[in-house]
Assembly symmetry: none
Homo-oligomer: 202 residues x 2
């Protein structure tokens, strides 16, 4: 069983690998966790290795290999065909062997939940009033992430997170009519990170 910090460490590594194709450095992990000690991070890595989640190539930079390649405990759901291009002139038809997208796999995971967006603070990023967003529960987030955050334990807002050099954070809306607001780090409590958005018409 993993501790909170070990879990966050593993999530960050998985995220890093998924997005960039290689593992992070200890220093990057520490920075993501908001701590300064590489030694502490290394302790977490040892625990993760003991639990069978990663393998460490001793001594090597970025020598973390992700094992256990995620047992998808999400049952496969119904799929829709993904059409790359619509053939000119011909009525659209599903081509056998075409790519299929499984919406469940796409969105569902443990530690995620759905929120209905209220307001237009992120409208210039294409997130409209009334849209649904999928949020992954997480206490830490990186610069540039879109987060659900509480300020002074008040109502939750959806904003882009900007980490400033002096340790403060700025919550940046995607709406020219609204101004970015800067806070000391203690006042901002991150509840989760935006992983997807969807909307129904009709």
């Amino acid at each position: 069983m993993l501790t909170d910090r070990e879990r966050e460490t593993l999530a960050y590594i998985a995220d890093h690998v998924a997005n960039r194709g290689y593992a992070p450095k200890l220093r990057e992990i520490a920075e993501h966790l908001g701590i300064r000690s590489r030694g502490t991070v290394h302790r977490y890595l040892r625990a993760l290795q003991a639990a069978g989640h990663i393998r460490i190539s001793r001594g090597r930079a970025r020598g973390i290999e992700l094992l256990h390649a995620e047992d998808p405990d999400v049952a496969p759901g119904h799929t829709l065909p993904l059409l790359g291009r619509i053939a000119a002139g011909h009525p659209i038809e599903a081509i056998p062997g075409e790519d299929e997208v499984d919406l469940s796999q796409f969105f569902v995971d443990v530690n995620r939940f759905v929120l209905r967006v209220q307001g237009e603070s992120m409208i210039e990023d294409g997130i409209m009033d009334g849209d649904m967003v999928v949020v992954e529960r997480r206490a830490v987030a990186d610069d540039g992430d879109i987060v659900v955050a509480l300020v002074d334990s008040d109502e939750a807002t959806l904003k882009r997170l900007q980490r400033n050099a002096d340790g403060t954070v700025t919550l940046v809306p995607a709406n020219r009519a609204m101004t970015p607001l800067r806070y000391s780090a203690e006042r901002v409590q991150i509840q989760g990170v935006l992983v997807a958005q969807f909307r129904a018409y009709r």
Copy 2:
């Protein structure tokens, strides 16, 4: 067998595990129950362990393991909890009996397919370049629908359909930089109607 509070405690633990994949801390349980004493919570846990519902890893943080493994929801289905509001101050938690959204149900149907949007013609409606859209195959559409259409059997475009009094149709982009284009009805071939849109981050 169990008292009211023990039952509530067990329900909360089960919910927590189902939604996050790990057990809550005594403090979190206490907060959920509206009490302040971890000692009292611990008494409930002892009772639950004696009744065979959980196993406690002594001393460990989050060291509660659910036994009696619930039958049906072992495989987390295609649903995500829908949270209406985020409780001020408290970490987000799924409220039992909360709404659940089934993503497959939400999007999938026969006669539908997915397209990746190219270009920014509908950007002011929140449909960005690279977004995925779910389209329902249909040859006819109503005034105001967003449609996938071919003009002169040429490349497909995503536009809002406007039916004019004289029988012509206008394809209206949601982008100030682009102009609506008017065609005779024969030149416009409707391939389908937009029913949903989604987008993944990270």
